[in-house]
């Protein structure tokens, strides 16, 4: 069929009339259209001297024959289905489609769709239908390719408007899809690559912070992945270079023992761009309410915590009941301070100190001390801080924070603090980049529609509602959109849908979709998405290429996660990326006389400082211990020999 030939005709009856937002048309039986196909109607009569063009997307399809009842067909073939194939004539059959209007030209006066011929939309039609022509103009091109629309031989690139994806007009993106099909993560990886390639230079720099909350999916963004020929064609069409991210930095806390990093990406071959994430007392106490629930922290405890923040942390503190002056900089210092206060109160046999009751002091001590245990590996007793490079974020750089293996408390703390810091820096315009994307998976868990009003949920709501003014954009993903807080998903200007769970599709939020569209959503293949965007009046189905980065499963097979190793091996693994000349023997020689805690502290300090002379710096971290010299053995006094004639001798 020629591309210029009509493929259908608009029809309308009194029972099924056309409206300004919906119309019906029939096609030949073998017409290459289906749910999601975009069509163009050319009206027969001019309106105000202009032939109307109506663009629509097929949302429902019907097929029926002239049969009045199925029984007639049974009778036709004497109840034998095998005979049906021998009938000389097929029954008259219709393919009737319902299309939702995407755009009418002219747009005013808005009238019901007129009768006319229906054509398959070509690439130019798709641009007009989706109003992409408004942001794909020369000199004002803000399009970010999201995928390719394919139907009946038409391959059209679908662009999102950067102003509506990353602000300031609208912002945020939400992805929904069942787990296990790699739709959500793959879509984000692809979209980040597309954004980094196509985000207009004049709009400034952009970076992304991705929280890896489960599995190894985001752990190999800097490693090349396998893509097929069909994907290469898509990359070419979408004008994106099929290569892994050029600048990726990983952050992960240590395991509880503190020897290795608590991440899937702790294989020795991949340690060069991974930084330990460790925080001290100051960083944690700032977000104490993330870890201390309301039942724990009543007004009295809150008052004591405030007192500690105001007067104790990082200040020289003395008090008559204390035995010494305290300078609290770490959890260890804080615990010493608490011990001194409580001992002083015991000595005075008093119930309270500075209006704080002893029971409250004991409770706060217990809760705060517990944090370093609950968040072991992240929170250090020593106070050593290793953090994201706030203030020097790089353009087109992905910062992955791996929290997949952490306890929920530690995940919450990391999320709350990092997002708060990002927000602070963006407010001050000193983050290092102008726009920042924050990707969070499992919004079901972090911003649920029901349940407790947690600190993390409040932060996500804040980003969703006010982030776009700062350049802070939330890319959220979840399996069940219906279970995410309405204000989080509602504020997402753009929404992507992968294959959906039928139960989820039966929730009220999807009632606006036609049954056929819902069916298509439930059966989408890998690499297919339904896209909702402010410029599109109806959702559009697109295909996107497989991300050109190594997938989690392949990465974890090629770079297996390291298990816990000896302290010397852990030091070697940590320092060798900084100085390849370091050997295990050298580490063993240097650390032989010191405790495990001292060795870990020295390693962490070296990794944090990243000095030029790694060996010297690492060695300097240890207290001087004069190696014990073997004591000279005293000369044994000569035993006099007994006289030969000694009568007592033997």
């Amino acid at each position: 069929m020629s591309r210029l030939e009509a493929l259908g005709r608009v029809v309308a009856t009194e029972r099924k009339p056309n409206t300004p937002h919906e119309f019906h048309f029939w096609t030949a039986i073998d017409s290459p259209v289906g749910i999601g196909t975009i069509v163009r109607v050319d009206g027969a009569q001019p309106v105000d001297g202009q032939i109307p063009h109506i663009y629509g997307i097929i949302v429902e399809g019907f097929s029926y024959t002239d049969l009045q009842t199925p029984l007639h067909d049974v009778m036709s073939h004497d109840g034998s289905p095998t005979q049906a194939g021998f009938a000389s004539t097929e029954r008259a059959e219709i393919r009737l489609y319902t299309a939702a209007v995407l755009r009418q030209i002219p747009e005013d006066p808005l009238q019901p769709v007129p009768m006319g011929q229906v054509f398959l939309a070509e690439e130019e039609d798709v641009q007009v239908a989706l109003r992409m022509d408004g942001y794909l103009r020369d000199g004002a091109h803000t399009g970010i390719p999201i995928g390719v629309y394919r139907a009946g031989g038409t391959d059209a690139v679908i662009y999102l408007d950067a102003d509506f994806l990353l602000g300031p007009e609208a912002a945020h993106l939400n992805i929904t899809g069942v787990s296990g099909l790699a739709t959500k993560t793959s879509a984000v990886e692809w979209l980040l690559a597309s954004i980094f390639e196509h985000f207009p230079e004049d709009k400034g720099s952009i970076a992304a912070v991705c929280f890896n909350v489960k599995g190894p999916d985001l752990c190999y963004l800097d490693q090349p992945g396998r893509i097929e020929a069909s994907d290469e064609q898509l990359y070419e069409k979408l004008e994106v270079d099929p290569k892994p991210f050029q600048s990726v930095e990983y952050f992960a806390p240590y395991t509880a023992k503190g020897l290795t990093l608590n991440t899937f990406r702790n294989n020795e071959a991949l340690l060069d761009n991974i930084t330990p994430l460790t925080w001290g007392l100051r960083e944690v106490l700032q977000f104490a309410e993330v870890l201390l629930n309301k039942d724990d922290v009543d007004a009295k405890a809150d008052a004591l915590i405030d007192f500690i923040k105001e007067n104790i942390i990082d200040k020289e503190f003395s008090d008559p009941i204390l035995q010494k002056k305290h300078m609290v900089q770490s959890f260890a210092d804080l615990d010493a301070w608490f011990r001194d206060v409580l001992q002083g109160m015991e000595r005075k046999d008093g119930d309270s100190w500075r209006t704080h009751h002893v029971a409250t002091i004991r409770k706060v001590r217990n809760r705060l001390s517990n944090i370093s245990t609950r968040c072991a590996g992240l929170v250090t007793d020593s106070g050593a801080v290793s953090d994201l490079p706030f203030g020097s974020f790089g353009d087109r750089t992905v910062y992955v924070v791996d929290v997949a293996n952490l306890e929920e408390d530690a995940q919450d703390l990391i999320f709350a603090r990092i997002v708060s810091k990002l927000r602070e820096h963006l407010e001050r315009r000193d983050l290092g980049v102008k726009h920042l994307i924050v990707f969070v998976d499992e919004l079901n868990k972090y911003a649920p529609g029901d349940g407790a009003d947690t600190y993390v949920r409040k932060m996500l709501l804040d980003i969703a509602e006010r982030g776009r003014y700062l350049g802070l954009v939330l890319f959220g993903a979840q399996q069940f959109r219906s279970q995410v807080h309405r204000r989080v998903v509602g504020n997402s200007g753009t929404a992507l849908f992968g294959r959906m769970d039928p139960d989820e599709l039966s929730t009220p939020g999807y009632a606006v979709l036609s049954p056929a569209t819902r069916t298509k959503l439930a059966t989408l293949e890998k690499g297919q998405l339904m896209v909702r965007h402010p410029h599109f009046t109806q959702p559009i189905f697109v295909r996107f290429p497989r991300p050109s980065v190594m997938q989690g499963r392949e990465g974890s097979e090629r770079y297996p996660q390291s298990s816990e190793v000896s302290i010397e091996s852990a030091v070697l693994r940590g320092l060798r990326p900084l100085d390849p000349s370091i050997t295990l023997t050298w580490v063993q020689d240097i650390t032989a006389l010191y405790t495990e805690q001292e060795v870990i502290r020295a390693r962490n300090a070296t990794l944090l400082a990243r000095p030029t002379d790694v060996k010297a710096y690492f060695t300097a971290q240890f207290r001087k211990i004069i190696p014990a010299q073997p004591a000279p053995r005293p000369m044994a006094a000569t035993i006099r020999s007994a006289p030969e004639n000694d009568p007592y001798g033997f």
Binding site: I29, L67, F86, A87, S88
Partner: protein
Amino acid sequence: MRATSSGRDVASQAALRMLMARLPGVTAVDGAPSIEPPASGDPPTVQTAELVEGSSMQVIKVPDPEADAQSGFAAFLDGAQQVQVMGDHAGIPIVYGTVSAAVRLRVNRRMVTWEGLPPRVKRSFFLPRRYLPPLSEVPSLVGESQLEVVDSAKANKNGSFPIMHPTALLDSAFRAVNEMREQLEHEFAEAWCASEKAPLFIDGGISGIPNASSSCAVGVVKSHRTLFAEGDALRTVFRLSKGERSSVFRVSPRSRSTVYSWYLRVRDVSHHDSMWGLVRVEIARCDRPTERADEISRWVIAEMSPLSLPDGRWDKMAYGIRDCEEFLRAIS
């Protein structure tokens, strides 16, 4: 053939306005009621036919009617007519008739319209001119189609005219519409036979077709007002079971072509009347009528699937003919 009626549509309303302009005194009739085919059309008759296969009417089993269910028919021809009483002029009914015909071609088991002669729809007023004043000459307005008027009160073969009785005039108008529809069907049949070689399934007899000698025209008659058998021969016909045919006989109507014909039972007659599933097939005369009758009988039986339900004549109607009727209903 299909006969239907409906209310006035835009085209018929425009035609009525034109007629009223040229024939003062015409008043419109509410709802434009239809007229049913006259009950006393041709009276039921029986005739003795001249056998061309054997010496007496026999029951002949169609060889392997189910074994080769493929039909040799390439296309189907049918016509339709719509008769409405649109107005009244001093008791004289003003009849508006619409006739149409088309050939539907079978391509890959699906029906499409034959392009050799595009479907035609003719609309006319059928007026008993002898009982009405002459039509005044009114120039047609730009864009208006010509008003077609047919005199429905012509003398019959005996030279007598229909009496000025509304029912008689309606009957004569109906016959005129019928003739127009038959004429149209014959034009299509002739056009097909002149340009195509493949057999054409025609709804109705073919003896009226001038070129009926063509081997490509096969008529299948569903109504049996005239039975071409008497006595034992008729009882033999009524005894036909599904997949059986009668002996071939010759039909030679007056002023029409002579054709070969036979009866064929296409459905199981159990628990039904004798006419159930009984059709009469007409073909042009040929040298080997037995082989031809067997072959075409198999084709006709094959055409009975799928069923033509919900049409009331589904026991005798081929699906291709139903498709023609639905097509004509859509365009007329």
